[in-house]
């Protein structure tokens, strides 16, 4: 059975690690989670990013957050990638599979996947 004692053990293990996260949030992945996004499948996309970023060992540099509707509902699920000093990249009609590719190519290696972007789907 899961217990709060077990949670406490996880906390103790994490305490040292948190200090190391100085460069937190160099890249920001923002998933649209309004009615339009949720109905189009944003929940599995968000969870794919949360899990994938961690699995790829990118959690020190990439933060995954949520936002409301950004006004292009017909392109949902929409994911925006922000990086300091670079132009924002907007990925549209996302899926969990596409999210995995974005993590491996864009977030890890800095290569934007043009075919998933808003510009390529307009």
């Amino acid at each position: 059975m899961k217990s709060l004692a077990e949670l406490q053990a996880i906390r103790d293990k994490m305490k040292d690690k948190v200090v190391l996260r100085e460069g937190y949030g160099e890249k920001r992945v923002v998933v649209g989670m309004a009615t339009c996004g949720i109905a189009a499948g944003a929940r599995p996309v968000l969870n794919a990013f949360v899990e994938g970023v961690n699995k790829a060992g990118l959690s020190a540099t990439v933060t995954v957050t949520q936002t409301g509707c950004i006004g292009i509902c017909q392109f949902e699920p929409v994911v925006e990638v922000y990086e300091a000093g670079k132009e924002k990249v907007t990925y549209v009609k996302m899926t969990a599979e596409k999210a995995e590719k974005v993590i491996n190519e864009h977030l890890k290696n800095g290569k934007v996947i043009t075919e998933y972007t808003l510009a390529a789907n307009k």
């Binding site: 899961k2 077990e6 949670l7 906390r11 989670m33 009615t35 929940r43 949360v50 409301g68 006004g71």
Partner: protein
């Protein structure tokens, strides 16, 4: 929406937008019915606005002209022969006990009943996006129940560890899944 759990995610996002610091998500199942209650302590609404939100062509947002969240939820409840209710106390009129409460009752045996779906994923998504807010989630099925109170977890974690750290989210997911397996 393909699952009621997605409607729950959508409606609860409204609560968080309204500044709720503690949101109750209560699911109660009997043999034939499912009752969903989402209750927050956010800024609430005036009685006039509360009447308006069931109209899909009313929204507070400026990026578009429609707001389908509440009308969708009302529709999926009523199409099973169930019911929908939204009550609100605005912060202006009730500075001490403001907030909004949405209640939807579903007939589980109706052909148009939408399955609940992956509710654990909804709870995890809410905590991931709003680690500063507290959630009290309870799903009662007959005699059994699944319970998560983030206030309790916060006490264990202290101030320096967020509820949306990956390891913590994973623990919460397993904690809920285990309770569902034992239900």
């Amino acid at each position: 929406m393909k699952e009621l759990s997605l409607n729950i995610l959508d409606i609860t996002e409204n609560s968080l937008k309204a500044g709720s610091t503690l949101t109750h998500i209560l699911l109660t199942e009997t043999k034939n019915t499912l009752t969903i209650v989402i209750k927050d302590n956010g800024c609430g609404m005036s009685s006039e606005m509360c009447k308006n939100v069931i109209n899909p062509f009313f929204t507070t947002r400026t990026t578009r002209k429609v707001g389908f969240g509440i009308p969708f939820f009302k529709l999926v409840a009523e199409q099973t022969g169930g019911s929908f209710k939204i009550e609100s106390k605005s912060q202006k009129e009730f500075p001490k006990n403001h907030g909004t409460c949405v209640t939807a009752v579903f007939n589980k045996n109706h052909i148009d009943y939408t399955p609940l779906g992956d509710i654990v994923s909804t709870v995890i998504t809410l905590i991931q996006g709003h680690p500063e807010s507290d959630f009290y989630f309870k799903h009662t099925v007959g005699e059994g129940e699944v319970l998560l109170n983030t206030q309790e977890l916060r006490q264990v974690l202290g101030d320096d560890i967020n509820l949306n750290e990956f390891e913590i989210l994973n623990w919460i997911k397993d904690f809920l899944k285990e309770q569902y397996e034992n239900l």
